[in-house]
Symmetry: C2
Amino acid sequence: MTPNEKPKAVLLLSGGLDSITTLVLALEQGFDCHALSFDYGQRHNAELNAARRIAAKYRLAEHKIISLAPDTFGGSALTDESIAIPDQPSDGIPATYVPARNTVFLAYALGWAEVLEARDIFIGVNAVDYSGYPDCRPEYVHAFQAMANLATKSALEGRKIRINTPLIHLSKAEIVRTGFDLGVDYSMTVSCYAADAEGRACRICDACRLRAEGFLSAGLEDPTRYR
Amino acid sequence: MTPNEKPKAVLLLSGGLDSITTLVLALEQGFDCHALSFDYGQRHNAELNAARRIAAKYRLAEHKIISLAPDTFGGSALTDESIAIPDQPSDGIPATYVPARNTVFLAYALGWAEVLEARDIFIGVNAVDYSGYPDCRPEYVHAFQAMANLATKSALEGRKIRINTPLIHLSKAEIVRTGFDLGVDYSMTVSCYAADAEGRACRICDACRLRAEGFLSAGLEDPTRYR
């Protein structure tokens, strides 16, 4: 099969542990992946640099980084300096929740998929990483897919869109083990909500905590560099 | 009722005939309207200037213009100079269709609504203006609303989102008559897909044709200036 014969997919690539694992799974399935990242004023720009390195390493067909207007998202600890990043697990929806983030990301992915004539969109949401985010739940993803299949010319012409979430029912430990088996180098990724410019992690935020627990349960060493 | 007591709404304001009519209907219903426009490289920038004039005239609480990356949307005659704007009504979906446009617009509106703690989003889609666009149909709007109510923290907390489409079942003539009765000055609006910098219309594109027919059926004079 030549590269041109592979089916195209649009893949949301944040630069974190979940998105690289989703990528290797999509590549394993034979997709020609077109990666999409967003610069939305997230505090941890190290994440975008990680996305760039990952796209280069896997020689993806394309990596598009879309800059969103600075005030696109408000009201989140991830984008608003005046809201502290929590250092304790929260009950309910955490302060790092970003209003409508996955909806905006998937909307862009949908538009790009239509231009590429791709049927498949990959997003690395999962039940553990969910940690209270409404837009990481299976029922949300199903509803987005149903909407997408009424939204586009492609869908009306019979080219249905699939929102692929290969991690959605995996624990963090299972995700890490899956990636290790497929040769993922997790030192390339940045998960921390408050990483410094070099991508060194804080050890205390929700994302650091979930990641460390995942590696621990998987019995694998986390290559994360801490400050 | 003081202005502060009015319920907030996010309203998509393109600067065209439908969006100004949607705006006056939302204002009539007592909403405090926060207008949202997009600069997405549409050929007819006159439309955005119209949106600015409309927001100023109605003294809206806020008017946000979001610049989308130049290559956000591809494959449409509205954004791609290499695709001609059709001068004949088309069967099926016309070349002026922009992939996933309303999905991206509504996704941003959803995020802003959540930040504002608004429950209502207004969009001026309608069955006539639909002219083959999949994302102007009632079933699409319903599916977006269902998705939105799974996507957000507000919805999980019981603040359901409503996507209001007051024009969806009106003919162009009914829209124009509704607006006239509410004192809308349609000379402020630009509908033409190929308007020049001064907002003068081409007379031949789908949008010009639909608009002219609407005024004719309504027995009203169209204040559109032609080139």
